[in-house]
């Protein structure tokens, strides 16, 4: 089964070929990248099949590792393992990856740097595949960071403009805040266990609650950065400055889910801690609701989707926090498909409408039929409407909460469901219904539609395979409980109805502007993204920059100044040294002798030049020495 190694290797190879040659070849090598993605998909399917029927197994189906470094007795190794969870993730990544790559052929075909775009996309795919295959936390972290690099490069793809540049940096730095937690988590893990591989860390080691809590919380912090959980989510909406297909792949389907995947991987540690699970739950709930609310006030279609992603990731964290990793993973899978679908749809819409502002859109359903159908499937999945995939996985999360008797959390989760349905409806009605505002609206290119349709199909049917997937993962995913399913569907429908009521009717019944004014405080908070960016800006970034400049001055004036001051002092001292002859000794002797003319007034620096003065000094020194000796000897 060595071919498993080829799954990440193929896109990596594509990167290695494309990156240096991208400029020279423009788009001629792009098919190579697509082919590599396709190859990875085929191999992933093979790998998926090879693990079939899955279930719990002591040993992974495939395991390969090599030693990275030896430190004394300790060997740090990198390795790859194939087991059900990674096989599922392989499929998610390669499917979405291929879809995005094909879609990008159309979406990006006018770009000069399309070769570079594909190179980074391939590197990203390779890193993500390596991440899901990794058999240890170190390898996971390394791939994780490389994904961060790719994210940086893709967000800043249009680096000639200010916004993408800023956004890319913000994304990298914010996730790096989380990465500090990850790195420290690794350090603590190493101190505690002395190894990074899953087998040892998760199963062979007896975790104490404290150690487990420390590690788990640190890893969670890392996951929160990468998965854009509150309050580290601020980078994700900005990251929408990148090309839309890249957003679909990285900032919707895969990379942002890596945080969830990390928690899934480290789940035994979380379980050993307990506290960490609660924190995870709280974080998930907060994120799910707040991000949902934020999504409801955005006008930029991509930002709505971005906040939606944040919110949905919150759902995944809720599942994890509730103690069910499989449910989280399940939602990860379904979300990956439908959210990438939504992004791809948004890409077509943006191409067609030449704007991202929903207020300038409307009536697109008629002009973009295929897109609207595919987008609709995704939207319904997001809202959690039967039979689209989101329904099943979300329902599973609610079930878990119910079974775990987390009723309060369940209540909040239902609020989040409501909010989600509301903003989905808002989005839909704003964009697809109502009067058309643009004259020229064209459906997307075939290369863009095909992946969307494929993803829409998956979104439509995948929910029915939930139990099968559960079995594959070694965990039972039951069919939905009618009562709970009914409740959640009802909540969702209610949300959508509200959305229709506010945005959907041709004659505006609800004056949104009046509402905004009436609840200006609430709206203000939401419109300003909870003031988080401002808070970070004012309380972290600006003070830091100010501090660096202050330190710069400090360094130049105080630290260096101290040295220069010492040098000045030294120059003074050297003057003093010359003056020493006259001022100190001369003064001393003259004080005794009290005869040399105008001694005090003639304290010129330097040697006086007067030989009689010298003689007096010498005699004085002699006298002092003799007295010293006599006193000492006595």
């Amino acid at each position: 089964m060595t071919y498993v190694l080829a799954i990440p290797a193929l896109p990596a190879l594509a990167f290695a070929v494309l990156a240096p040659l991208s400029r020279a070849t423009r788009n001629r090598l792009v098919p190579l990248a697509v082919a590599a993605a396709g190859g990875s998909l085929l191999l992933s399917i093979a790998a998926f099949a090879a693990v079939w029927p899955g279930g719990y197994a002591e040993e992974p189906a495939y395991h390969a590792s090599f030693v990275l470094a030896r430190i004394g007795e300790t060997a740090l190794s990198l390795g790859f393992q194939l087991e059900p969870a990674s096989a599922v993730m392989l499929l998610v990544v390669t499917v979405v990856g291929l879809a995005v790559q094909v879609y990008s052929l159309g979406y990006m075909h006018r770009e000069d740097r399309i070769g570079w775009y594909y190179a980074v996309l391939s590197l990203f795919t390779a890193a993500m595949l390596a991440l899901v295959l990794s058999d240890n936390f170190l390898g996971l972290f390394m791939s994780w960071e490389i994904m961060g690099l790719c994210s940086f490069l893709l967000i800043g793809f249009w680096h000639e403009q200010e916004a993408p540049r800023q956004a890319s940096m913000k994304a990298f730095l914010t996730t790096r805040v989380g990465d500090i937690g990850f790195m420290l988590g690794l350090a603590v893990m190493f101190a505690e266990v002395g190894a990074f591989d899953f087998a040892t860390v998760l199963y062979a080691h007896e975790w104490s609650a404290e150690a487990a809590t420390t590690v788990a919380l640190l890893l969670l912090f890392g996951a929160m950065g990468k998965s854009a959980q509150f309050p580290l989510h601020v980078w994700l909406p900005d990251a929408m400055a990148g090309p839309t297909p890249a957003s679909a792949l990285i900032h919707a389907a895969t990379m942002v889910a890596a945080g969830v995947f990390l928690v899934v991987r480290a789940f035994p540690v979380f379980e050993a801690s307990g506290v960490a699970l609660t924190v995870t739950l709280v974080v998930g709930l907060a994120t799910a609701i707040l991000a949902g609310l934020l999504a409801a006030v955005q006008h930029d279609i991509k930002k709505v989707l971005a906040y939606s992603t944040v919110s949905q990731l919150g759902f995944m964290f809720i599942a994890l926090g509730a103690g069910n990793a499989t449910a989280g993973l399940y939602h990860l899978v379904t979300h990956a498909y439908f959210k990438s679908l939504l992004f791809l749809g948004a890409g077509v819409i943006i191409h067609a409408a030449h704007t991202q502002d929903m207020r300038q859109m409307g009536g697109l359903a008629k002009r973009l039929p295929t897109t609207s159908i595919a987008f609709g499937a995704g939207a319904l999945a997001l809202a959690g409407i039967v039979p689209f995939s989101g329904f099943w996985s979300k329902d599973e999360i609610l079930t878990v909460l119910y079974h775990e008797h987390q009723y309060v959390a369940l209540g909040f989760a239902l609020v989040a469901v409501f909010v989600t349905a509301f903003y989905v409806a808002r989005l839909w009605f704003r964009v697809f219904t109502g009067p058309t505002q643009q004259a020229e609206l064209r459906e997307g290119h075939r290369s863009m539609l095909v992946p969307m349709v494929a993803l829409a199909a998956i979104t439509a049917v995948i929910g029915f395979f939930g139990p099968v997937l559960g079995d594959y993962l070694g965990y039972k995913i039951p069919w939905p409980d009618p009562l709970l399913a009914g409740t959640s569907t009802a909540v969702a429908v209610a949300g959508m109805v509200l959305g229709w009521f506010v945005y959907g009717r041709t004659t505006q019944v609800v004056n949104t502007r009046a509402l905004k004014q009436r609840y200006a405080n609430v709206y203000g908070v939401l419109a300003n993204k909870l003031y988080l960016d401002l808070t970070y800006e004012h309380f972290l970034v600006r003070p830091y920059i100010a501090a660096t400049h202050a330190l710069g001055r400090f360094d130049a004036h105080v630290v260096d100044g101290a040295v220069n001051g010492a040098a000045k002092l030294w120059v003074r001292m050297s003057d003093a040294g010359r003056a020493f002859d006259v001022t100190v000794i001369d003064g001393l002797v003259n004080g005794t002798a009290a005869v040399v003319k105008a001694a005090g007034a003639r304290v010129r620096a330097l040697q006086s030049g007067r030989v009689r003065g010298y003689q007096t000094l010498v005699a004085g020194a002699v006298v002092l020495l003799v007295i010293f000796i006599l006193v000492k000897g006595a």
Binding site: S574, A576, R578, V611, A621, V622, F628
Partner: protein
């Protein structure tokens, strides 16, 4: 007769002095040439004859240190004369200068072998008196004479103080021989007289606070004279002082006096050298500073003596070379600007000398400092060593003011003196000595019978 044979080197030097004095016309500089030859021959003779026991009823003894001292004094004098033979002394005749230098060296050679205070005193005078004349060698130059007068008056004053001290030393010990000193009955008078003797030696070595004549005299003098006076008599004086201190009864108070002078010299010399713009004055203060290092070593017992002797040589050679460089290029620091462009080889040689004075390896100065600090620390003088070390960084500051001008300075109007083989040879030899003393110190130290190991006492009590 055998006793006189041991002094063949001294006779050679004397012969050189007389020959130089009476050598004919000055154009071909026969005097310096003859003198250089004799001095070199003397150095070789010293090495060939080697150490011998007591001579002339014990007033002298040619021990290893004396042999080293005589050989190095004679060699250094030969080196200096070689340069003088090449370049002369400007408008002045070089015959007398050569004779004076040789006579002074003769005094130095006798001084380092002295085992009797009478011999010590009289040879000290013999080594000093020609130096006055060399300082004021340009007899119509008011500044030179002023310097010489200051030198003379202070030197004579301190000589008399020393002589007075010596008279009491003789009185207390009942004999003028060194051998009797160590067994002299202790007492306040002995202590006082030893201090008076030290005053004389300090003044000759220009240690603070008896150094006042040094900067003025050097600045007034011609650079070649300074090159000689600042080095050879100091080397001789150091060795003589080492011998004398070795003979005196051990006294912590004496050590305190020496250390105090050492620390003061290091401070005043290094600090005052910094702002100087005249090379002679700079080297005068730097000489004061180096005297401080020497005294520091001398204050720490027998191994310190050896270290001081080594350091004195490691100081003398580059110092002489730098002053001779000043003689060729001008004594204002700015005169040296752009030397690297005009005379690159000389510039690089000067770098070697200056680095040696700073104490940068692998030059002789570094090893000198290494041995010196080692013996001083082992002698318990930790704080003075720290001062010395801090001051050696300060010294880098002013030596590098020279380096900076030599290498980075710009000067277009400077005349390039005509090629001169003896002068070039002088510089080359000086450079080689500086390097060789550092890299191949082993034979020399062997000669000095350095026994670092024996004095390598545990430092633990210091830190305990």
């Amino acid at each position: 007769m055998t006793e006189l044979a041991a002094l063949i080197p001294e006779f050679l030097v004397l012969a050189g002095a007389l020959a130089a004095l009476f050598a004919g016309a000055d154009e071909r500089r026969l005097g310096p040439w003859l003198g250089a030859g004799c001095a070199l021959a003397a150095a070789v003779a010293v090495a060939l004859i080697g150490p011998s026991g007591e001579l002339f009823g014990g007033v002298m003894e040619l021990d290893a240190v004396a042999v080293f001292g005589r050989a190095s004094i004679a060699s250094l004098t030969a080196l200096w004369l070689l340069w003088v033979a090449g370049r002369g002394l400007g408008a002045d005749r070089s015959r007398e200068a050569a004779a004076f230098a040789l006579l002074s060296s003769l005094g130095g050679m006798l001084m380092v072998s002295a085992q009797d205070i009478i011999v010590l005193f009289i040879s000290l005078e013999l080594s000093t008196m020609p130096a006055y004349v060399l300082m004021g060698y340009r007899r119509t130059d008011a500044r030179g004479l002023e310097g010489a007068l200051k030198y003379f008056l202070l030197s004579m004053l301190t000589s008399l103080v020393m002589l007075y001290g010596l008279s009491f030393v003789y009185g207390v010990a009942g004999s003028t021989s060194y051998a009797a000193l160590s067994s002299a009955p202790p007492g306040a008078l002995l202590q006082v007289s030893v201090v008076l003797v030290l005053v004389g030696m300090f003044a000759k070595l220009s240690a603070t606070p008896f150094h006042y004549w040094t900067p003025d005299a050097y600045e007034g003098a011609q650079a070649p004279s300074v090159a000689y006076v600042s080095t050879v008599p100091k080397l001789a004086g150091t060795i003589a002082l080492a011998q004398l201190l070795g003979a005196l009864p051990a006294s912590p108070d004496t050590a305190t006096v020496v250390v105090a002078a050492a620390v003061l010299s290091m401070l005043v010399g290094n600090l005052a050298a910094f702002p100087q713009s005249d090379l002679r004055r700079l080297m005068a203060y730097s000489g004061v500073a180096h005297t401080g290092y020497l005294l520091l070593a001398l204050s720490s017992g027998a191994s310190g003596g050896t270290a001081a002797v080594f350091y004195a040589l490691a100081y003398a050679v580059p110092s002489m070379a730098i002053m001779l460089l000043g003689a060729e290029e001008g004594v204002a620091l700015d005169d040296l600007a752009g030397l690297a462009a005009r005379r690159p080889a000389l510039a690089w040689a000067s770098l070697v000398w200056l680095l040696s004075l700073v104490g940068i390896p692998p030059m002789a100065g570094f090893f000198g400092k290494l041995y010196l600090f080692t013996s001083a620390v082992s002698g318990g003088q930790l704080w003075p060593v720290l001062v010395a070390i801090a001051m050696s960084v300060v010294s880098a500051g002013y030596y590098f003011r020279v380096v900076r001008r030599v290498f980075f300075g710009e000067r277009s109007d400077a005349p390039v003196p005509p090629r001169n083989v003896p002068a070039a040879a002088t510089f080359a030899i000086a450079t080689l000595i500086v390097l060789a003393l550092g890299l191949f110190a082993s034979p020399l130290l062997g000669l000095l019978e350095l026994r670092f190991r024996d004095v390598a006492v545990a430092l633990a009590p210091l830190f305990g």
